[in-house]
């Protein structure tokens, strides 16, 4: 049978961000696949070297359009580490709250994309409808639906009022009920399972070999979660339930993400309930002492690492970002091999690529 090479990307209905796959097919079966990155490279790391520490917060918020808050959180943590600052508990709690809300929003978005790619538009619409609840909450808290601009070096810029807290506590159970409905669909719908089970398999060994992180690793039985393993902010004050599955396929990733969403909803509720009184920010020095700092945090897609090197001036010497998507990307050709063309869309959606993060 003759071989055909199908270009997927840089622009394709299956992708939400520009990345390019060349998939070689023999009939309907995938023989080979190659990957090309770099369509949204913006030189953010280099740009950061010419801006002051405070200006860089705005810059790093633009690394990603989905998990913008986690990037600024990780960056601020690094700078605060260099400054030796201890941020107020209330500020740290608000940071965590937004991190969790962002995780809910990211996972629901992902579920919608997966459902759309396997041709189940109804779940896509439902997931995105439910995501509106959390987007509205984030807008209420920070003023922005996706880019929150709430982090600053030394804490957060906005406090949480008691009416806002009440609204969050009132809306979260509604969201939890809706997410349970989605879980029910993913768990029980036979056609959904038929399209997602047994494809995109990644074994535990492969997870270790390629350093895969986040929900993809957890779906393959590797329970890594920085919120529990290396707590940042004030996560050590909470009991984090890390969800793992053994199947390692797209379906397991869906289940892991939805269960995580439910966990995050619960965690957000706990954070709001336990919210301590006090200031939300402390004054930070504009000049950062010489040194290096590595800050890590658990983004919706896995571990984000920021390395900040300071030379004692107002601008950083070097900022290196490492995002979780890259590790998942390099496993893709392996996951795709031998599959059918129809499964490609499900597998590519399954790892939850964030190309803007990976390219920067």
């Amino acid at each position: 049978m003759s071989r055909v090479t199908i270009p997927i990307g840089p622009q394709h209905p299956l992708l939400k961000e520009p990345v390019s796959f060349n998939i070689t097919l023999e009939g309907e079966n995938v023989i080979d696949s190659t990957l090309r990155l770099g369509y949204v490279h913006r030189g953010i790391e280099k740009l950061a070297e010419s801006r002051s520490y405070v200006k860089n917060i705005t810059l790093f918020e633009r690394v990603c359009g989905i998990c913008s808050h986690i990037h600024t959180t990780t960056y601020c943590q690094a700078v605060e580490g260099l400054l030796g600052l201890e941020i107020p508990r209330r500020g740290s709690y608000i940071r965590m709250l937004l991190c969790e809300l962002e995780r809910i929003h990211s996972h629901l978005l992902w579920l919608g994309v997966l459902a759309k790619n396997i041709g189940l538009n109804t779940v896509f619409m439902y997931a995105w409808r439910d995501r509106e609840i959390v987007l509205d909450l984030m807008e209420e808290i920070s003023g922005g639906r996706v880019s929150h601009a709430i982090n600053t070096i030394g804490g957060v810029r906005k406090d949480l009022s008691s009416t806002q807290a009440k609204k969050i506590l009132a809306d979260l159970p509604v969201l939890a009920a809706r997410v349970r409905e989605l879980l029910d669909i993913v768990n029980n719908d036979r056609s959904f399972k038929a399209r997602t089970q047994g494809i995109g398999y990644l074994s535990t060994q492969d997870v270790y070999r390629y350093c895969v992180v986040g929900p993809v690793a957890r779906a393959s039985g590797v329970g890594v979660d920085l919120r529990r393993d290396a707590p940042y902010a004030h996560y050590h004050e909470f009991d984090i339930n890390v969800i793992t599955m053994q199947e390692g396929d797209v379906w397991a990733r869906a289940i892991v993400r939805i269960l995580e969403t439910i966990e995050s909803i619960d965690l957000s509720r706990q954070i709001v309930e336990k919210l301590p009184a006090g200031d939300v920010t402390v004054r930070a020095n504009r000049k950062v002492p010489e040194g290096e700092f590595v800050s890590r945090s658990e983004a919706p897609r896995g571990e984000v690492i920021y390395f900040v090197k300071s030379d004692g001036t107002q601008t950083p010497k070097r900022v290196k970002v490492r995002t979780p998507t890259l590790t998942a990307l390099i496993t893709l050709p392996m996951q795709l091999e031998g599959l059918q063309m129809a499964d490609v869309s499900a597998v590519i959606a399954g790892v939850d690529l964030c190309i803007a993060c990976a390219d920067r």
Partner: protein, 312 residues
């Protein structure tokens, strides 16, 4: 006298139940489908004139085809699809209103006319030399036999039971006794499955799976030609649904009466509702899953069904 007859003839062809009426009702059913799907998905859905606006817009657009495409062929394919579904719709609705007289064997002609666009759809992919088009065309051909056989087998049950291969014969056989939906409910379900395949609706929308094949065979079409494909699609849906109503719900209405038309339209809307709800709840099948389902389960079932009808 001859002039008057001729004018009436033209009126039937062009307006009712001909071209204008058919295209308008095809668009109406398409709108119903989109509106229902939108409501199932929690969206608002388009206004009633959306299909018309789409078609007008497409005709106003520039018509581009890739280099190396046979221009004449690329025009003839959608035109033929449109014409064949239009004739099918005209024959069914004409039989209903009494404009056209049903003849023996028109049932087979209708099945042929309704399935012609599916075959041309594949050719349409091969004519425009795009990689998505060709692969989508391959897929549609691979799928073609599995649903086509199913549809013909299932719906033939009514013709076998009535002992006539004409639309009027099938209808009359039912009005004497009970409509076939009561006795051949299995056949009805199977032919709905076949129809979904024919119309390439979800879960059988493999050839035009957006996340894999972009638009399948129609990827490279634009402008007026794409509009013709769309119109053919609307009319295929309309005539497919009308055929099923005729074959399974005959005898529920009196022919050539106003109340009869209302019942006919309501039944058609019911079937459209069934099609929409199926689209909303199922994921797209993989091609091997589809072939498996059709050849292993549905087609043997329809065979058994037909054998039972013949014995009884």
């Amino acid at each position: 006298m001859i002039m008057r007859e001729f004018a009436l003839y033209i009126f039937h062809l062009a307006f009712f139940p001909g071209f204008i009426f058919l295209v308008a009702s095809g668009m109406f059913f398409h709108w119903i489908d989109r509106k229902l799907l939108a409501r199932f998905e929690g969206r608002v859905g388009p206004p009633w004139y959306q299909p018309l606006a789409d078609i007008i817009k497409l005709f106003a657009k520039e018509d581009i085809l890739p280099i190396g495409t046979n221009q004449l062929f690329a025009l003839l394919l959608p035109l033929t699809s449109f014409a064949s579904t239009l004739s099918a719709g005209f024959h069914i609705l004409g039989t209903l209103t009494g404009t056209v007289s049903s003849f023996n064997g028109d049932f087979i002609m209708l099945i042929f006319l309704i399935s012609l666009p599916s075959l041309l759809f594949f050719l349409g992919g091969w004519t425009t030399s795009g990689v998505y088009s060709i692969l989508g065309g391959n897929r549609s051909l691979l799928q073609y036999f599995s649903y086509e056989v199913l549809f013909i087998m299932a719906i033939s049950g009514t013709a076998i039971a009535s002992g006539s291969w004409s639309l009027a014969g099938i209808f009359n056989a039912q009005s004497g006794s009970m409509p076939y939906i009561t006795l051949q409910i299995a056949g009805f379900i199977l032919s709905i499955a076949g129809l979904i395949g024919k119309l390439k609706r979800s879960p059988y929308d493999i050839p035009k799976a957006k996340s894999e094949m972009v638009m399948g065979p129609l990827t490279e079409y634009s402008g007026g030609k794409l509009a013709l494909w769309k119109l053919a699609d609307f009319l295929q849906t309309l005539s497919g649904i009308a055929l099923i109503v005729y074959c399974y719900f005959g005898g529920l209405w009196l022919p050539h009466t106003a109340i009869g038309y209302v019942i006919f339209i309501l039944l058609m809307l019911t079937i459209q509702f069934i099609l929409s709800i199926i689209s909303a709840v199922f994921t797209r099948l993989r091609i091997d899953q589809l072939i498996d389902l059709n050849w292993r389960i549905l087609i043997p079932l329809s065979l058994i069904h037909n054998l039972l009808i013949m014995i009884l």
